[in-house]
């Protein structure tokens, strides 16, 4: 900052965390302000720490949760809950032992703050503008919605951060994604990001940090910005960022881990400088016309294979990959998506499991029933979201429509905990990945917004949510 030449939001946060500058021979040493950990990608890192006799350097900047392999079946008390399988149980136990031994705060069973790692960070107010945030999880990009530089790392790097609070990084390139205009009724943040991925391609953001800008982004709530940033990795970008503004500050104020009193005032002052200067240069820029977007759904086996819900399956490039994807999905070019039957509907995941996501789905389902033969799971992103939703009576709306209301966790997003889509069944899911087998062996996943998912549950077919608004 202060060099005179205009800089991007990313550059400001990056340069604020450089411990040692990069050289041709060595990467930069980048300081990490918040390290989030969960049970699946950490055990091997703790093993390395033990082998080396290292301690966790900053347990006070480390937060743990249990989310990926935990069950979501409702029980009276979370304390006596057994997890899905033996190995999953062992992994959860390891996490508990590791956090205990190394002095890390863990939101375990019984904690009212437990939940999906990318839901609880913001909810606690631990996710803040200008921070560097990492986690052994690719959807760490979610936290960029607050103007943090947040990205997923591997387990070896988890070990680096545990031991030193730093990472070795080459500076990525920048990509400006401007979503202009206003999203029409029934078109959500999820549709905007799916359309963007369709435009960039799933490898198009590789090597880049995205900054989302434009009127449609500015108008979004924090929940919506998180949905957008969450899926940056689905375009290959490790991080996505939105400049913090009053929407951000209002969201954070009063949260348990947000700065208090005079520290709050000082933080806001600093946070206000976190935006790309006018004239700042991005390595690449693209524009998406928000006015022209429709509700979007995927038809293939990656998040870039996406069309408007009222369209037909495209012809594609006719290449082997495209044909393989359609074969897997049991779809034909030219087939109308509204003719495709639905077996399972999943509302959840770090993309769309926050209170406003559940409210949207519940509003549509109020006084309606889901179609015969459809199984619908609603899995709140955190125990906190669950509590707030129940206080609003959303659980009752879901239950009386025929849907199942669960405890929080990753659940059917990746099917590690036993919540899976049966082989060959078609699932309309608010999660972020429609890869082969992601939701269960042979499961066919269609990614969509909570509105489209709820509409599809009612129709028993992939449905345009605008019909039910």
């Amino acid at each position: 900052m202060g060099t005179g030449s205009p800089t991007t939001l990313f550059e400001k946060v990056w340069s604020d965390h450089v411990v040692a500058a990069e050289t041709p021979d060595t990467p930069a040493i980048l300081y990490v302000d918040l390290h989030l950990i969960h049970e699946v990608t950490t055990p091997q890192a703790f093993t390395v720490l033990r082998e080396r006799g290292s301690r966790v350097r900053r347990p006070d900047l480390t937060l743990g949760t249990l989310d990926h392999s935990t069950p979501t079946t409702p029980v009276a008390s979370f304390r006596d809950l057994a997890v899905a399988g033996d190995s999953a149980a062992r992994q959860v136990q390891k996490m508990q032992e590791n956090c205990h031994e190394f002095g890390i705060e863990l939101f375990g069973f019984g904690s009212e703050h437990r939940g999906i790692v990318h839901v609880i960070g913001p909810e606690l107010g631990a996710t803040q503008p200008g921070k560097t945030i990492v986690c052994g999880d690719s959807h760490t990009s979610t936290h960029g919605a607050f103007g943090a530089l947040a990205f997923g790392i591997g387990t070896t790097e988890v070990g680096h951060v545990l031991a030193t609070q730093c990472l070795l990084q080459r500076r990525p390139k920048t990509l400006s994604v401007e979503i202009s205009g206003r999203l029409a009724k029934g078109v959500t943040a999820k549709d905007a990001i799916l359309a963007t991925i369709g435009q960039i391609g799933i490898g198009g953001g590789t090597g880049h940090v995205i900054e989302y800008r434009g009127a449609a982004i500015t108008a979004m709530s924090m929940d919506e910005r998180m949905t957008v940033c969450n899926m940056s990795i689905e375009a290959g970008a490790r991080a996505g960022m939105v400049a913090p503004d009053d929407t951000t500050f209002t969201y954070l104020e009063g949260r348990p881990r947000a700065p208090k009193a005079s520290a709050w005032e000082a933080s806001i002052e600093r946070w206000r400088s976190l935006k790309s200067d006018s004239g700042a240069v991005f390595d690449r820029s693209i524009t998406v016309d928000g006015n022209r977007l429709s509700p979007m759904v995927t038809f293939g086996t990656n998040p870039g294979m996406v069309v408007a819900v009222d369209a037909a399956v495209p012809d594609g490039d006719g290449g082997p990959g495209f044909r393989k994807a359609l074969d897997y999905m049991q779809l034909q070019p030219g087939q109308r998506l509204s003719d495709v039957g639905v077996d399972v509907v999943f509302i959840g995941s770090c993309t769309n499991s926050r209170l406003s996501d559940l409210q949207q789905a519940a509003n549509m389902l109020r006084g309606r029933k889901i179609a015969n033969g459809v199984t619908m799971l609603v899995v709140p992103g955190s125990q906190q979201v669950k509590k707030e939703a129940e206080a609003l009576g959303l659980d009752q709306i879901f239950r009386s429509s025929g849907a199942q209301w669960r405890e929080s966790g990753c659940s059917m997003c990746l099917g590690m905990n036993g919540d899976t889509v049966p082989r060959g069944k078609l699932s309309v899911s608010t999660s972020n990945r429609n890869f082969e087998g992601r939701q269960g062996i042979g499961a066919r996943t269609v990614l969509a917004s909570p509105l489209t998912a709820a509409a599809s549950a009612i129709a028993g077919k992939i449905a345009d949510p605008r019909r039910y608004l």
Binding site: D16, V19, A20, P24, D25, P27, I29, Y31, V40, T41, P43, Q44, T47, R52, L61, H68, S69, G85, S87, A88, R90, Q91, K94, Q128, G136, S138, G152, I153, G154, T155, T156, E157, G159, H160, A163, T164, C166, L168, R170, I202, G203, T206, G207, G236, R238, A266, S267, R270, N302, P320, G321, L414, G415, M416, R433, F435, E436, G437, R438, I441
Partner: protein, 194 residues
């Protein structure tokens, strides 16, 4: 991590674009707490049939694939989840290098930290490799060159630091720990604290 300088091997070719890490190692095998033994689950749902027997149509199950240490894959290999179990599974199976025109960021970074070499090539070289499965090729990390079966050679890009660590078989944590003084100074001098 084993030191790597040269690699001579026949190639096994997986001509699929956008192979994601869920295909390389499905999530249900991630409940392990060690790095070992993941090779048996590599490409599990493509490699095995429902009854657990080998799927004869999958390239890794062909007799020619046996012993190959170099995987040539379609564009954008390793996209999706950050699971380091993906390079662990490839290495445990016996793959030491992956060649494509594009390799996803986190997978590439994870690979380099475990001694799996990600090699980016231009589309023309890629096309030749895809068309000639089983060719014996040579990867030389000391000169960053890839020599094809016909003797023609191309250089490939690799980060200098990652290359040094691969050639020495050293991990990167030691380098970070040697900078502890800088890290402490940074913490003391920064204008705000998280």
């Amino acid at each position: 991590m084993q030191a790597m300088r040269q690699l001579n091997s026949r190639t096994v070719v997986l001509p699929v674009n956008d192979v994601d890490t869920d295909q390389i190692i499905p999530a249900r095998f991630l409940t392990t707490t060690t790095r070992e033994g993941l090779g048996q689950h590599l490409f599990h749902d493509w490699r095995y049939r429902d009854d657990g027997s080998d799927n004869p149509e999958f390239v890794l199950n062909s007799p020619e694939a046996r012993g190959c240490e170099i995987l040539v894959a379609g564009r954008n290999f390793g996209c999706g989840s950050s699971r380091e179990h993906a390079p662990w599974a490839l290495l445990d199976y016996g793959i030491k290098a992956v060649i494509s025109t594009e390799i996803a960021d986190i997978f590439r970074s994870n690979s380099l930290k475990n001694g799996l070499l990600p090699i980016l090539v231009q589309p023309d070289v890629h096309a030749r490799l895809l068309q000639n499965p089983g060719d014996t090729i040579c990867v030389d990390l000391t000169t960053t060159t890839l020599t094809l079966a016909d003797g023609s050679a191309v250089t490939f890009p690799i980060d200098a630091f990652a290359r040094y660590c691969l050639m020495e078989g050293t991990d990167q944590l030691g380098f970070l720990q040697n900078h502890l003084g800088d890290i402490v100074r940074f913490e003391e001098q920064r204008p705000w604290t998280p």
